[in-house]
Amino acid sequence: MSEETETIPGADYTLAEMMCVVAARELPRSGVAMLGMGLPVLSGTLAKLAYDSDLRICTEVGAFDWQPWPEVPRAPIGIHDLILNHGSVMVTDMVDALGTLLMGGNADVGLLGAAQIDRFGNLNTLVMGDYRAPERRLGGTGGNTEIACLAKQVVSIMPQERRRFVDRVDFNTSPGYIDGPGARRRAGLQPQGPNRVVSTFGVFSFDTPDGGDTDSCEMVLEAVFPNLDPDVVQAETGWPLKVAETVREVEPPTNDELTLIRRLDPYHFYLTPGRY
């Protein structure tokens, strides 16, 4: 499938645009956010401009609390775009960003993309197949691993495809709930793992009301995009998906959200057909 160009019948937006808009909505309205490489930068910028948001967006290159000005010509192209030097409250280095800020406990939420996700919200950014004899290499984790390990909450963005929503990630670069309740605590991490996943079909939470120690810690379908049959979500998921008792329908994007997200990606760096 190529969800990035696919639209819902009658809709004037693509599923990929919807995914980025909904990820922006799922971000908290305050606190400190560390944006990972790729779509998180677009969604984070949208969140700052579309909502009256007190969220402090940061990237691992060392730009803290970037405030995009109203007429900003684009979302940062990557986490290292030089426009982050205009409008941040602090620009510093990676030891500060991924050490002092993140490992020091100052990041309230991380927003992440990856190549694969599994039922426990683990992410894979490194390799397809066995690490020692890979079918395919990927670029690597960048700062994805530490954000997944160390941010107090995590929201992931992941196109809904069967090859991406897999039963078990080929290589767990970025721990979610690892293999179930209590696993993060046993590994030496804070028990709270990922909170939300936003795909091209809907929104997921995790079945662990106390934040990681009890219940199944599996992904649960909470909401689907407008006019989308919840059954297609299972068809593009590689394990028997847990589904909430009542599956909400997500509000369609507003004109403001759509206009902004298109304006922020003038070169189709983020929402190019064929890539995310």
């Binding site: 990557g78 205009h86 490992m103 690490y131 004899a133 290499r137 691993t145 030496g188």
Partner: protein
């Protein structure tokens, strides 16, 4: 007077980059002029080090200059192609770390401590024992270790200190003695200036030593740690450089994008942009001939809205009292 460190990229690279060296190659704003010179001089057996190694890594791998890499991200491996092939065949040995890990390892190298703990990687597959000494690697058991903290019993990952033999970096300005000043976000460069045994810095501007001493808050490394300074406007092109020019996305896509597509494409790029010019000023000259002044000007920084007022560091020469 201290000795001047000012020299050409040819001399700096010939004197301070040795075959077999581990080389910090930069993160996002890359000293491409120096990387090109390493390729031009056919250095071999290098290890490329950086939090995320972008096209500068691909260039060193494709040219046969580097056969090892330690990084959190290898851009050339993102899609199928020659870099993936080299990793599969063993021609390029790799250790996968992360951006945080490389930054902390450089910091440990700079601090002179043997290792540094992190709480990243816990719970991930990176730490599986069967991956520690993997067939594609080059550090074996020295990649990292885990232990329980002796103070609170919590598990931590111990990252070994990284002391690159040489670091190649680009900066906004320096004086002839190698006192280097930068501003804007630093990525993992800040600690590379202090970790590496030999530091080669290319700069947009050479300034008088008084300029440095009048505004020392911008200095990231003092000259006594720097081996060579190369005056090199547009030395980071086609990456961007804070306060000077933006990334040249058109050039990166149309020209530099060729280097990872195959040997022929790489050789075409090398012939035109590396071997076909003597140095960075000829490179820029060629760029102007090919694309015109306006293409270069399009990337230039324009003035921001509110210039920073001068910071004053001097005070009245005499105190109005005696102790």
């Amino acid at each position: 007077m201290p000795e001047t460190k000012l020299m050409s990229e040819r001399e700096a690279t010939a004197r301070f980059v040795d075959d077999g060296d581990s080389v910090y190659v930069g993160y996002t704003s890359v000293a491409y002029g120096l990387i090109h010179e390493i390729v031009r001089q056919r250095k071999t057996g290098l290890e490329a080090i950086g939090g995320s190694v972008g096209p500068q890594g691909t260039m060193l791998f494709m040219a046969g200059c580097a056969d090892r890499v330690s990084s959190g991200y290898i851009a050339g491996a993102l899609r199928p192609g020659p870099v993936q092939d080299m990793m599969d065949s063993g021609d390029l040995r790799y250790e996968d770390y992360s951006n945080q890990a490389i930054a902390l390892m450089l910091m440990a190298g700079a601090l002179g401590i043997p290792f540094i703990p992190t709480r990243s990687f816990l719970g991930s597959d990176y730490l599986k024992p069967e991956y520690q000494e993997h067939p594609g690697g080059h550090r074996g058991a020295n990649k990292w270790a885990t232990m329980e903290s002796p103070f609170d019993g919590q598990p931590v990952v111990l990252l070994p200190a990284l002391i690159p033999d040489v670091a190649v970096l680009h900066a906004q300005r320096a004086d002839r003695f190698g006192n280097v000043q930068t501003w804007g976000h630093q990525g993992d460069a800040r600690w590379a200036f202090w970790a590496a045994k030999k530091v080669i810095v290319s700069v947009e501007d050479i300034v008088e030593p008084e300029v440095i001493r009048e505004d020392p808050g911008r200095t990231v490394v003092p000259g006594f740690r720097v081996a060579a300074v190369v005056h090199m406007p547009f030395g980071a092109h086609p990456s961007g450089f804070v306060g000077h020019y933006d990334f040249d996305y058109a050039f990166m896509a149309a020209e530099m994008g060729r280097i990872g597509r195959g040997k022929d494409e790489f050789e075409a790029f090398r012939a035109e942009w590396i071997d076909g010019v003597a140095d960075r000023s000829e490179y820029i000259q060629r760029y102007l001939e090919r694309f015109g002044q306006q293409a270069l000007d399009r990337t230039r920084a324009t003035a921001g809205p509110a210039p920073t007022p001068d910071v004053r560091y001097t005070y009245a020469p005499e105190l109005p009292f005696r102790m």
